[in-house]
Amino acid sequence: MTNKSPFSYPSHPSNPDSNPTGPFAFEIRDLNVWFGTKQSLFNISMNIFYQQILAIIGPSGCGKSTFLRCLNRMHELSPGVRVEGSVKLMGKEIYAADVDPTLIRRRVGMVFQKSTPFPTMSIEENVLIGLKLAGIRNRSFLEERLEQSLRMAALWDEVKDRLEAPGTSLSGGQQQRLCIARAIAVQPEVLLMDEPCSALDPIATAQIEELIVSLKKNYTIVLVTHNLQEAGKTSDYTAFFLGGKLIEMDSTKKLFTNPRHKFTEDYITGRFG
């Protein structure tokens, strides 16, 4: 038993199954979040492995989406939110005073529950918007990125002949993959996914899940989901949130087969939530 496990800090015993020394994409310490006067996250501390998939599960309202939004400072867009604690991305504090949230979001991409292709833009424009609005005009660079991103999102073969079509003309699953392509076109280091499959049919869901696994090669992925099977199928590690607290975090296999907490056990066996 080493004491370098990502799950242990500060109170849990470590887990020997996992890669104990791996580099961390995120190191989170004592994260507290308030909406107005209501506290929605309590003392969250965890490490997130580099280029692994972390699934966050928990009943609705447990704070998992809030937690996700704290990782790229998206929560700052909601009125009345206050954050305390430390979140380090690749060893650097993202809540430091001199850090530009735009640059953080550039490094930590996000995919939302509802697929959100920009309705006024074509498929191509949707993928390239992040680069174009950053002022990149280099045509060959953009074309290369376009194909690369769409291929990575497993969408290239389906749309390569109609890149000029509006993004909203695609099917639900394709739209979500388009959003993933759009997020990876700016080459972030981390992808946050907020229930990306919850609005999709089973076939589209399977495609996206496959895609998520394949993206692990290049990205650290944090996946919020209410679908336990999805967490089991795709992730390397799983964290269970309840009532704004991190109850348990472990390798997915361990957490699903041999949870340490009674709450976790109740949740994964479907006794509540």
Partner: protein
């Protein structure tokens, strides 16, 4: 993908055009300029309002110090002799807007009910479009129409009828020369009708039909289903619509100026000419020369502004509930819920 495993140091940053573009300080600068611009534009209106309040209050000081509160109760308005009292205008504005509101609210509600509930379907859409077209007609055109169409019609048919049958009432005494309180109120009533009807129709349509159907299911008549299943839900809104119409009626200048007669006299008879706050401004402001006259007109402008502001605030209060102007609170709450889930 040629990315380094640990990109935290961004060793590769400068080779990537995207990284370079984002790190560009000019970007941040442009962002700040834009934000500054947005703030400047947004605070143009509040700043101007403060200036407006200052302008009106300082410029009316001479009359305020000379006449004080009696300005409001004096019915003598004579720029030549230097006597100024606003009572005829206050009376004219109150009477004409009150009368037009009375006419317009009953006709408006009736029309709105007819167009949503009682009329055959094929007639509804064209009539609603007609009402929308009519609401775009500018004030001065209404004045033109009232001057050359409405007044002759009143003179020929309506007034003789009123005099024959209701001539004993104080409202229909005296001679009718065309330009009068009656003509002014009628044209204002017609002008405020389209907007009142449109808003009322919107409100009736916004009531979920299950209530009406539930009442229907109890064996009620069509009217009863509306009285019980629709009207109670929009009571406050109807009041709001009426106040909205009142605000418009009070502020209306051109059409009224053209037909109300412009005589600063107080008469109970609807057939005699009158004067309103806005029409005295329209008529005399450009021609006033003496300091006191100008100041008196500024005080009238201030009165008019204050009255319409109060009336509009009341309308907001009734249409949007007890917290006026507070849409964001609603939206904010909704967002918070979304974020929490």
């Amino acid at each position: 993908m040629g990315r380094m495993l640990f990109s935290s140091q961004h060793n590769t940053a400068n080779n990537d055009p995207f990284e370079r573009a984002l790190a560009n300080r000019g970007q941040k600068f442009k962002e700040n300029i834009f934000t500054l611009l947005v703030y400047c534009c947004a605070f143009t209106l509040p700043t101007l309002l403060v200036f407006a309040a200052y302008e009106l209050t300082t410029k009316c000081m001479p009359t305020v110090s000379k006449f004080g509160i009696s300005f409001l109760f004096n019915h003598d308005w004579n720029p030549v002799s230097g006597h100024f009292g606003a009572l005829p205008f206050l009376y004219g504005t109150a009477m004409s807007s009150g009368l037009s509101l009375l006419i317009a609210s009953f006709l408006g509600l009736g029309t709105a009910l007819f167009l949503t509930e009682f009329s055959p379907r094929w007639i509804q859409k064209p009539l609603i479009i007609l009402i929308q077209i009519i609401s775009a007609i500018p004030s001065v055109v209404w004045g033109l129409w009232a001057l050359f169409e409405l007044i002759p019609w009143l003179q020929k048919y309506v007034v003789p009828f009123l005099k024959d049958h209701l001539g004993f009432l104080p409202f229909f005494q005296g001679n009718f020369y065309g330009v009068s309180m009656l003509s002014g109120s009628l044209v204002v009533a017609i002008m405020i009708l389209p907007i009142m009807i449109s808003v009322t129709i919107e409100m009736i349509k916004s009531v979920p039909s299950i209530y009406k159907e539930a009442v229907f299911a109890l064996g009620s008549t069509h009217w009863e289903s509306i009285r019980i299943g629709v009207l109670p839900f929009i009571k406050k809104g109807l009041l709001g619509v009426a106040i909205l119409g009142l605000g418009r009626a009070i502020g209306e200048a051109m059409a009224v100026t053209m037909v109300i007669g412009n005589k600063p006299e107080i008469s109970l008879s609807l057939l005699s000419p009158a004067y309103t706050l806005s029409s005295v401004l329209a008529n005399e402001f450009a021609e006033s020369t003496s300091e006191l006259h100008i100041s008196a007109l500024y005080e009238i402008a201030l009165l008019l502004g204050a009255i319409t502001i109060v009336v509009n605030l009341l309308a907001q209060l009734f249409i949007h509930g007890l917290e006026p102007l507070d849409f964001t609170k609603l939206f904010g709450k909704e967002n918070q819920k979304k974020n929490l889930s």
